[in-house]
Subunit: 121 residues, 2 copies
DNA sequence: CAAACAAGTGAGCACATGTTCATATGAATA
DNA sequence: TATTCATATGAACATGTGCTCACTTGTTTG
């Protein structure tokens, strides 16, 4: 009766009870799973990919980004809010402009690794 | 008239023309952007995160996975199809069972790196 | 101060996505 | 062969998501 091993252990006789127990014990806790899904989900959109890639080359303001992508600044702003909230980018205000940069080296690395994966097939 | 630098270069006088040109030149091509978004999007779902993490600990059949997650095997099967199509997992048939494993070391690395990112805040 | 402008935001809409349910397929077994 | 079971799949439905449009905010500049 230790580790939630008998709650909904399905009625099916699908074998591998040992594996199930083992994997269950090492299962990702829900916070981590949600967190991972959130980060990856944020990276999982064409527009945001392009924004992040653009920012990986240096600081840009909203207007620049929308010009580069050929998107409306409203759309870009909406996306930037998501990225900002998730701390993937950070903002610096200067007069009328707000300049964005990648928030953290992790993002850059994740991005680079994903790119490597994509290019390799 | 080289690199799509004057098509829709917005009428706004938002400055930074130099940066825009530079970033545009180095912009991710559409295939890469789509590919990246697809991979990351696939990782961007709680259920699939849990599936992949379970598989990172070894081979499991659909039934095992659904037992571990507490999800229906139908739901799991649907997700596995997506992961299989994107070559993130691969399947091995043995009798009535189909055993799944991570397809490639990249996935494991991406996953690990994402996890690191999440745990570090 | 008023006009111009960059950026942010809420509502609404079209479309994507994850789940369930019913059913199909295909292999093992009685 | 008929049944049982693991897996797969299509349709339907509910929810999530990204965009546009209209508008607001806040800053610069005429």
């Amino acid at each position: 009766m230790n580790n939630a091993t008998e709650l909904d252990v399905c009625e099916k006789q699908c074998l591998h009870q040992d594996r199930i127990e083992r994997v269950r014990g090492a299962m990702l806790d829900d916070r981590a799973a949600e967190g991972l899904a959130e980060i990856f989900g944020l990276l999982g959109d064409r527009t945001r990919v392009l924004i992040l890639h653009a920012l990986s080359q240096g600081e840009l303001c909203v207007c620049d980004i929308s010009a580069v992508l050929g998107a409306t600044s409203s759309a870009v702003s909406h996306q930037l809010r998501l990225l900002r909230t998730a701390k993937l980018v950070k903002a610096r205000k200067e007069g009328k402009n707000v300049f964005y940069t990648l928030d953290d080296e992790h993002v850059r690395q994740l991005f680079a690794q994903g790119l490597e994966h994509v290019l390799e097939r």
